[in-house]
């Protein structure tokens, strides 16, 4: 696998990519404010690779100034533990990276309009318990993040590398992500991107495929075909995943079967469509999110 110094620069660019987001309070919650003016929209530039719970304190602080009187008012009570975010009637999952949510929910829209800043509605009531899980502080999202990194290492290296690391290295990964410290992050992450057992690649690639209205798809896939002596590409991975998933759907008599024609989808990672001929080992090393997973959105093209 031939790589160059330039490839490393790609990880820095991805690290620095941001999304301009405009948070607007829901109409229902606006009506609970006693003051004469309603909150201005809140504009934030957020890292694609980060998570919404990382800025939840900011949201609490911003809206609590407007709801001061409601915190003790039993008839008009506002509890910030019930804060949730919504885009076009879809409650946003707290534990997905921000970039994944944006790519999944805005890519199917017409490309002639601009969808930036990304307009998200803030709700302070009626938390949709059946649709999203609560991750309302940094500690719970940190636990989720570390678990995901461990899962990725289980796939790549049977968990050997993460298992051999000190607790302080785990902490450094998360804190670097929180504090936007690229070098601090990659000092540790480089170990997770290394090879073990005399292989020149990962045992299996950590990836998740996101298709609207379906739970994410994750399967075992090796980046190198030993018999054919060839590197597997993004196209090979998608071909395998879609066909395997359809077999599973047929076994469980699902009504709606997945379309296995890759050409009917836009394949989006970090907001762009990489060449389908890219070796998946390369994508795993350079295009993974900080949790070490490749999060791939498949957006159906309009007919």
């Amino acid at each position: 696998m031939h790589t160059s110094l330039d490839d490393k620069e790609i990880t820095r660019e991805l690290w620095q990519s941001r999304l301009p987001i405009c948070f607007i309070l829901s109409d229902e919650d606006k009506s609970k404010i006693n003051r004469s003016e309603s909150p201005e929209p809140l504009y934030l530039m957020l890292a694609r690779q980060s998570y919404f719970p990382c800025i939840i304190e900011k949201l609490h602080r911003y809206y609590s100034t407007y709801f001061k009187e409601n915190l003790n008012d039993t008839t008009n009570y506002v509890n910030f533990a019930n804060l949730w975010l919504e885009y076009e009637s879809i409650p946003l999952k707290w534990h997905y990276p921000i970039g994944v949510l944006y790519d999944l929910y805005t890519s199917s829209l017409s490309s002639t309009s601009s969808y930036l800043p990304w307009q998200i509605t803030v709700h302070l009531s009626k938390f949709p318990e059946s649709e999203i899980i609560r991750f309302l502080d940094k500690e719970s999202i940190e636990a989720h993040y570390m678990s995901t990194v461990k899962e990725a290492d289980a796939l790549k290296h049977k968990g050997q590398i993460i298992g051999d690391m000190q607790k302080r290295d785990h902490k450094q990964l998360w804190n670097s992500l929180l504090q936007d410290k690229y070098d601090g992050f990659w000092n540790i992450n480089n170990k997770l991107m290394s090879y073990t057992e005399n292989l020149q690649y990962f045992r299996y690639i950590p990836f998740r495929i996101y298709i609207l209205d379906k739970p994410f798809i994750q399967k075992l896939f090796s980046p190198y075909d030993i018999d054919e002596e060839k590197w597997m590409t993004l196209n090979d991975l998608l071909h395998f995943v879609l066909n395997h998933e359809v077999q599973c759907e047929q076994l469980t008599n699902e009504k709606k079967i997945l379309n296995t024609n890759i050409n009917d989808y836009q394949v989006i990672i970090h907001g762009i469509q990489p060449s389908l001929q890219t070796p998946i080992q390369w994508l795993s090393e350079y295009f993974s999110y900080p949790d070490n997973f490749l999060h791939i959105c498949l957006i159906e093209k309009r007919s």
Binding site: K93, A143, T148, K150, P215, F216, T252, N253
Partner: protein, 114 residues
């Protein structure tokens, strides 16, 4: 031969036979106690692929009569190493982490491998 128990809850897990007669549409998994959690009589379970880890957690909390007042938590672990997000399907956990046709999940009341 396996017994079929029904606690009357419409959301309860239906146990299929422990062989493969479901044609592979159900995921078979073993539940093992960790961190001092109570041991279950029934250790082998089967669920459709699309059920989530969260569904299993909620079921076990009721089945084990965990104190909802005290908001007792239940943690599920794979490979005795990580805890998948609650919206992960048991199908994808099985596809990636089962061994010789069986998936082993450890459950604990404390963060055993936090």
């Amino acid at each position: 031969m396996s017994t079929v128990e029904d606690d009357g809850d419409t959301n309860s897990i239906r146990f299929g036979p422990s062989n493969d007669s479901e044609g592979g549409s159900k995921v078979v998994f073993l539940l093992k106690a960790a961190g001092g959690a109570p041991i279950l009589k029934k250790k082998k379970w089967a669920l459709p692929r699309t059920k989530t880890i969260g569904h299993i957690v909620e079921f076990l909390k009721k089945y084990m009569h965990l104190d909802t007042q005290q908001q007792q938590q239940l943690f599920l672990y794979v490979n005795q190493a990580f805890s998948p997000a609650l919206d992960t399907t048991i199908g994808s956990v099985n596809d990636c982490f089962s061994s010789e046709g069986t998936l082993v999940l450890h459950y604990a009341l404390t963060e055993a491998w936090g």
